[in-house]
Symmetry: C2
């Protein structure tokens, strides 16, 4: 099954070569910026840069929209697909039916749960792929592609995908923002953020092996109100950060302190 | 210099054998629970269980209080030290002067910035140790001990230690709590938390190598208000978690969106 990729961002950058290497030949790459599309085709065996979204004469049967969430709708409103083609997007948060307007034969969500950067190699085999499909025939076809890419493939409902995405926001975006706030505090006090690296790595490794409950430490889980007060006061010149400190500390207190 | 350890918790568990192996012989271990003290002496070459806090006839010159923050004051109020002895505690958040009542010859804070568990081996060489000392002679002596243990040793002020501890709370306790909230959302929706492990590891590794700003992704940093609304609504049955979602998302928006 030949494939066309719409998009040249971080997901497309890794997904297209991974498909190519498995024999799902990527024939066309479209991007709003043709130079970005060309950079991606350079990573592929046979792909050409596609100048428009008119794929009516394309030989591909799988069309993958791997663009930012905001851009999906305008792509769908312009794209022209050949008959019998499958259209998927790779977003964790956009609904399946956003693809409907393109009138594909079958449609799906093909959501690889990982954070991608162009500069960093990644092994697709280890990335869970979550599928949501319009019908059983599409389900079978997308499952085959996903199983070739990854050793963990799951069919989920729209509701489960919502939960998964919110959980991923906490686990990835919010934990990363805690590191950002930590780095800011260090820098404001002329301390090197790198000093915290061994602690951060050990905490996360422990959390993933023993569970976050077993690896929780610090003044909130100990119920040490004196230190909590002192530290909230330490942050008082930055009211927003102090508010985050109080809210999360209170939630840790509530989570671990029996009523 | 012989050493006595007061405490048998996670810090003492790793610190005492590390000192022993470097020739700072641990001679005595005191713990409120003598069986815990005995378990620690089993890990040491020459140490004996000490039944009381009267060390007036002890041959040790360095006394390390490695107990929970709440317990330090009552230890200090009871302990009797020999002349010329140094007394330190290992807390990140307790002031130096909390040791004053024991009237040591010199006193210090000896703060290893790491999370310790009895079940997990740890290489002390990689753990930053932060020192705060009552005087220069103590400073020289504690620095020598710390440098034998670790390749990164720093003298910091009381104010810097406060900043360091608050930053560590964000980096470790709060990022870990984000994983806890994530796990709860997954479980409430019958999804396996393990599915998020590759994402979490990649996020943290990227954050530590490129910096948290470069590795921030998700709806808030993209300014995607529609998804933010949807996800806050998704959490509406748990108002406290929804509030955390909104507050951190707003802060990410404010941090990354130019005015």
């Amino acid at each position: 099954m030949d494939v066309s990729i719409i998009g040249s961002g971080n997901v497309a950058w890794h997904l297209a070569p991974a498909l190519d290497n498995l024999g799902y030949v990527v024939k066309e790459v479209y991007s709003r910026n043709p130079r970005h599309a060309a950079a991606l085709t350079d990573r592929l065996y046979q792909a050409e840069v596609k100048a428009s979204l008119d794929f009516s004469t394309s030989k591909s049967r799988l069309f993958i929209i791997a663009v930012s969430d905001e851009a999906i709708q305008s792509i769908v409103s312009e794209i022209i697909l050949p008959d019998d083609s499958l259209l998927v997007h790779t977003s964790g948060s956009q609904p399946l039916h956003v693809l409907q307007f393109a009138a594909p034969h079958g449609m799906g969500v093909f959501y690889p749960l990982q954070t991608f950067s162009k500069s960093k190699k990644i092994d697709f085999k280890t990335i869970p792929i979550f599928l949501e499909c319009s019908d059983d025939a599409t389900k079978d076809q997308l499952k085959e592609v996903a199983k070739a890419l990854s050793k963990s493939v799951y069919h989920i409902t729209a509701e489960e995908r919502k939960a998964l995405h919110v959980a991923a926001v906490f686990a990835s975006n919010f934990s990363n923002h805690m590191l950002k706030l930590s780095k800011d505090i260090m820098q404001e006090n002329s301390l090197d953020f790198n000093l915290l690296k061994p602690l951060i790595l050990e905490t996360i490794q422990k959390s993933l092996s023993l569970g976050p409950e077993a690896s929780q430490t610090g003044p909130a889980v100990r119920g040490d109100l004196e230190i909590l007060d002192q530290e909230a006061y330490f942050l008082h010149e930055n009211e927003k950060v102090a508010e985050i400190y109080r809210l999360i500390s209170q939630h840790i207190l509530d989570t671990y302190t029996p009523d």
